[in-house]
Amino acid sequence: MGSDSKILFVALIRQNQGIVNSLCRLYATSHEEMKDYRQDVLLSLWRAYPHFKEESKVSTWMYRVALNTLISIQRKKKHVILTEPISESFENNHFQHAGSDDNLLVLQQAIGYLKPMDKAVVILYLEGYDNREMAKMLSISETNVSTKLNRIKTQLKKTVKTLQDEFK
């Protein structure tokens, strides 16, 4: 690809770095892992960039490629780690100055405990995508999305309650 494509791609990533960082942070269990995931996601986005059609929104394209990459990475791992995601990040100065609070910690930890595909579903739901769009982006059926959402709601209710009790 030409240098123009490279310049455009770098600008695109910089404009949407919140998406890339948020997704990698929710799937990673350490800062090192987050950096590795980010490199994998950037590589996937760069590979997919020539096929990006401007008829869809940039953010939709990024969510689709990034989430499928992260799900695929975690599936390849023999033991999917359903442990606490990066929590110390909320203790460092950067996050404290950015106005972190208990709700953010609850959100990150509650989502962090979900399975990779369930995480993707809840992230896309929070982004405002409907079941049909989510199904298309994650290559699963609409019924599957609906079932997963119901299960996730029950699981999150329990996790959020436990976490909120811990913070009291």
Binding site: Q17, L42, L104
Partner: protein, 65 residues
């Protein structure tokens, strides 16, 4: 649980993560690694093809009826 309750926190989470700059060098290194792997893959294919055609020619030449 009403997931919509988490939406403001999600927006805040994304905004905070948007403040973490991804270095241009990090993006460029990922792009270059892809370019390098494409070149390696191309070279590997060329070598493989030369080997396969050499074998076909050698075997074909040895089996003249």
């Amino acid at each position: 649980m009403n997931l919509n309750r988490l939406k403001p926190s999600w927006d805040q989470f994304k905004a905070i993560n948007g403040l973490m700059d991804i270095d241009e060098s990090e993006i460029l290194s990922c792009m270059e690694s892809q370019d390098n792997s494409s070149i390696k893959m191309f070279s590997k294919r060329v070598v493989q093809n030369i080997f396969v055609y050499s074998m076909i020619l050698a075997l074909g030449g040895g089996c003249s009826f």
